[in-house]
């Protein structure tokens, strides 16, 4: 077998979790992070981030719709996936995840978006024509009551849903971390910090994604970027990033200090096969650089254009760094032997079922979902829902 150094158990030479399993926590992380940003405005009354509230909800939705697809492509028998819902094994974190996902998709996100957009949906169902009209009609669920009292009730129910949504978002992504963190067989994953690290890195990536989308889409619409909003988002991103980085460092320091039986093997791995993706990409480029940039924007009074550029660069680097973190967890956890006596290699193929093309496609797909959602349910306050362009 190619790429084996030292001794691997013979069944360990191949990796059973591919790049698609890297994508899956990355995408669910973006969902959870975007939702947390939306809840900042709703629950914590951070008025400054209001311009991104709806965009954050739609971003969360677009990525949530994509999230199970990498899993389905990865399964040996995707046609049996329904078994997760019909006979869920209560001791399996993965089985429970199926329910958490459905709960989050339907009870939280869909409901909240529906409540928030109900007035727009009803108005559009009366103003549009053709197929769009039918779509909006279905979305009203046959009720066109947008009296002040009804909308007021929606507002309060929506607040409650967001309140439930925050722990749900934590649960959604904490569970993904737990899937890895609860395996005693694998010392690279086995850590109670794993779910927490996953949640905080998810928040960083989700916030960064919504911030970038907001700046990009505003530019594309030839409007001015609300700097008060972007400054606030960047500040939150900075603080959460610090917590995320501290947790990751705590995990690292703990491992180095404790130096248990797996340490020599994992240490070697980090200095060889994972050196680029872990040390360079994840820590130096993807974490420390954006943290320094964000720190500068917090302490130095910079002109608007410089801030925008620094936010953009930090956002992109954070997204890369967190993707690298997922990669290092999922792929890194399979590169060493559970005998601690050897290492294998991961070779990604281009056009196989779990290959690079499928992975790229599944990364691009949420952008298409988001584009459709933006067309269907425009989140922009400055455009208004009263006079949508016909055939928008």
């Amino acid at each position: 077998m190619t790429g084996v150094e030292g001794y691997m158990y013979p069944n360990e030479i191949r990796l059973y979790w591919s790049v698609l399993i890297v994508l899956y926590p990355y995408i669910t992380g973006l969902v959870a992070g975007a939702f947390i940003l939306a809840s900042l405005e709703r629950i914590f009354r951070v008025e400054a981030v209001k311009p991104t509230y709806r965009l954050a909800l739609l971003t969360a939705m677009a990525f949530l719709l994509d999230a199970p697809l990498p899993l389905l492509f990865h399964l040996g028998h995707p046609e049996r996936a329904w078994e997760m819902y019909f006979t869920p094994h209560k001791t399996s974190a993965m089985a429970m995840f199926g329910y958490v996902y459905l709960w989050y998709l339907m009870a939280v996100l869909t409901f909240e978006i529906w409540l928030d957009y109900r007035r727009d949906i009803v108005l559009r169902s009366q103003q549009t024509k053709g197929i769009l009209r039918v779509i909006y009609k279905i979305m009203t669920l046959g009720s066109s009551n947008i009296s002040e009292r009804a909308l007021n009730i929606d507002e309060r129910v929506g607040w409650l849903v967001t309140l439930i949504g925050i722990p749900s978002a934590f649960l959604l992504h904490g569970y993904v971390g737990f899937i890895f963190g609860s395996l005693k067989s694998n010392p690279w994953w086995d850590s109670p910090l794993m779910p927490v690290v996953f949640i905080f890195s998810a928040m960083v990536s989700g916030i960064a994604a919504v911030m970038l989308f907001y700046m990009l889409l505003t530019k594309m619409r030839h409007k001015t970027i609300d700097m008060r909003c972007v400054d606030a988002i960047a500040m939150y991103m900075f603080y959460i990033f610090i917590i995320d980085f501290s947790l990751e460092m705590l995990d690292l320091v703990h491992r180095i200090y404790e130096a248990n039986e797996s340490f020599r093997s994992l240490n070697f791995l980090v200095h060889t096969k994972l050196y680029f993706s872990q040390i360079i990409l994840q820590i130096l480029i993807g974490t420390i650089t954006p943290l320094v940039l964000l720190f500068i924007t917090q302490v130095v009074k910079l002109p608007e254009i410089a801030r925008k550029r620094m936010y953009t660069v930090s956002g992109i680097l954070a997204l890369i760094g967190i993707f690298a973190m997922r990669w290092n967890v999922v792929i890194g956890g399979q590169l060493f032997s559970k005998s601690f006596l050897g290492y294998t290699s991961y070779k990604i193929h281009l056009v196989t079922r779990e290959g690079l093309l499928v992975a790229l496609g599944l990364t691009m797909l949420p952008l298409i979902f988001l584009w459709i959602l933006l067309k269907l349910l425009p989140p922009w306050e400055d455009e208004g829902a009263h006079a949508p362009a016909a055939g928008d």
């Binding site: 329904w82 819902y85 019909f86 006979t87 094994h89 209560k90 339907m106 009870a107 409901f111 529906w114 109900r118 009203t140 669920l141 046959g142 009720s143 009551n145 009296s147 009292r149 009804a150 009730i153 129910v157």
Partner: protein, 157 residues
């Protein structure tokens, strides 16, 4: 009644949920295998299915029920603990159809060294030879009877 009018749309949404859950429960009732959960959280019918997989090795008892003459020789020698199929291979087919399925004659030059080639990794008490020095190309069974390999005073040529 006026109060209900303004929350009616919420009930419509909840109604969708209830319908979805009902459909789920009905489908679940049909689709979950009947034996699921009989012993635990799995399909109990899988156990007899796995137990019914075909045999390839017939087992020592099946061999000696016919070849008791060989067993009589073997049971007194050093290879008493070695089951027939360990050398002769999987022979369930021969047991089911002894006339048409005949085991191939074994090549002792290949077979014996599988176990008896000298290596420092093997337990010291296990008889090992350097085949080239030991036999000088002469087939093993020239001197040793594979079913009772020790060359005693009488010599089993």
């Amino acid at each position: 009644m006026n109060g209900f009018k303004d929350i009616e749309h919420l009930f419509r949404f909840a109604g969708l949920f209830v319908i979805a859950i009902l459909v789920f429960l009905v489908v679940r009732g049909f689709i979950v295998p009947k034996s699921f959960g009989e012993y635990g959280h799995y399909r109990a019918a899988a156990i007899p299915q796995i137990a019914a997989l075909p045999l390839h090795y017939a087992g020592h008892q099946a061999c000696i029920s016919c070849h008791s003459d060989i067993q009589a020789v073997k049971s007194k020698g050093m290879h008493a603990g070695v089951n027939c199929e360990a050398c002769h291979g999987a022979l369930e087919k021969h047991v089911l159809d002894p006339i048409n399925v005949v085991p191939v004659k074994l090549n002792t030059a290949v077979l014996c060294v599988r176990c008896h080639a000298a290596s420092a990794a093997k337990p010291k008490s296990f008889p090992q030879v350097n085949a080239a020095e030991h036999a000088n190309g002469i087939a093993c069974e020239t001197c040793h009877n594979p079913h009772s390999p020790a060359i005693d005073a009488g010599g089993t040529k």
